[in-house]
Subunit: 339 residues, 2 copies
Amino acid sequence: MKRRSFLAGAALVGQVPGLPVLAQTAGRAQLESKIVRLKLRHTWTTTMSSSEYRDTLHVSYRRDGLTGHGEGAPIVRYHEDAVSAGKAVESVRGLLLSAAPMQFAKVMAQVFQRVSGEWAGKAAIDIALMDWVGQKLKIPLYTYFGLDPKDTPLTTFSIGIDSPDITRQKTREAAEYPILKVKVGARKIDWLARQGVQFIEQPLPAEMIEETRWLRSRVGIPIIADEACQRASDIPKLKEAYDGVNVKLDKAGGMLEAYRMIQIAKALGMKTMLGCMISSSVSVTAAAHLSPLVDYADLDGNLLIANDPFRGVRVEKGKLILPDRPGLGLEQSGPASRK
Amino acid sequence: MKRRSFLAGAALVGQVPGLPVLAQTAGRAQLESKIVRLKLRHTWTTTMSSSEYRDTLHVSYRRDGLTGHGEGAPIVRYHEDAVSAGKAVESVRGLLLSAAPMQFAKVMAQVFQRVSGEWAGKAAIDIALMDWVGQKLKIPLYTYFGLDPKDTPLTTFSIGIDSPDITRQKTREAAEYPILKVKVGARKIDWLARQGVQFIEQPLPAEMIEETRWLRSRVGIPIIADEACQRASDIPKLKEAYDGVNVKLDKAGGMLEAYRMIQIAKALGMKTMLGCMISSSVSVTAAAHLSPLVDYADLDGNLLIANDPFRGVRVEKGKLILPDRPGLGLEQSGPASRK
């Protein structure tokens, strides 16, 4: 075959109606979703509940020899669980398998249009796509967002509610973390302010915006919205009652919406914080890649579990250390590193 | 030299104190700024002024054998001209030459901190950096933002104020554009609404927010903020008085801030529009790469000039056609294509 006719033939293959060129040249996409049971190091008690494990939804997206990993931790408040999250992912399987993954913003807009609620499921999809995109571009996701990995903040380490003895033991175990996050059942804000507390998160229920505004005018510590702030559109109306917002990928539905929330809060002059649910290194590392943008990080969800299937972001003396590998930069945990 | 000692030597070179490894291995950056006089095809008349040329500031950023191009059109309203824009760029020359360009979000945050005002100068820097980043990643900028180039909107074509005869001639020349933008001196909104007008831009001065709110309640056409909306932080307070915002790179200070503005407006449920000043294909193409995100585009600034130094976005029957080359995808205009 002459060079000229070969080229003409190749062009013809690319023009078969209805089949995009990329899909043919790049191979098919594969999607997997599964529920992973994460075992907690300590029984976890908050003002809301007590538990020994958490189920999160994991999604993997494979194409062109690359695998992107995503995870979402379902939040009961939004009427989600790992099963409903998995169903949400399966409901857009066809869309995801036929989509051009480099059009990730368009793809996620379509996912958001089709799936109502199920923020953890959406987060798992978004994170898997963005991990894949970073690997495809051969850059860590912090580079995709144009950030300096040295700018990560310190992360808090959370101490759940427990007996005084166990609390003392947990606090000793957390000696290397300069900032602790303490869940308190009663409210003693003035006393907390005198103990070096940096800020208070969601002191009143999300619905009580007026009361929070009153409280804010009476205390000298920044008040950060958690449950009151789920999506980007929530933020402008919170400005009067809160000093800042706690952005979580599981609430927002992934990295792209979390990025938008951080940008909106910053544009409004509010403090920004990245938080997480109890989850593996997949979700926590995804949040950590955005953390150079924020004032505070509470990204310890993976430190609280005993069977993390991945290694990603590390913590050294409280500072978040991002992996410099492409995408999220995850590595599978070897048997030796499992505990 | 044995392989091992060669590697050790190479590692040593990378560790000279104070010199970042990337700068040594990748070569030095170069920055150039210059004023380009753009000749208008027709004398341009608005309610504000009449002119035969416009000066814009062009920035080029070279590194690793790649050149990113940027442009900003100074806006008198913000007390800018091409000379002040050039001085603003020169004031951050040291920062830009020593910065890691893949940390573009951090770099632009530093530029915004150091330079007050001078949005056109900042836009020229931001666009040059992003053009370079896209070329470095070997992807068009629409792909960087995760968008589908087929989703570009139609662009309007602007007809300046003139005598009836010249206006008729201009309108004939614009026959291929399905949407025209007409600058009107007097206000006859009810009559306009009956003539198929899609929306009205900035009908009252930016300061008259209350009056615009009143006007909006009386007319059936969407009202879009132009001068009233400069930065991301302006948008939430405009929601009561306007249906949407016209985002321009020259007002915002570049693509990154324009992207944030579009996202904030969308999160607030507002219409979005990308506009431009009279400028070359550099600035207009940069805006066009974001246009798959917006409802309306008014990106005809390069069509109004006779000596465009670049070719980038094209218009076919009003539809914006994005180049699929890396970065902005610009090509130098050859002598034959100059008019």
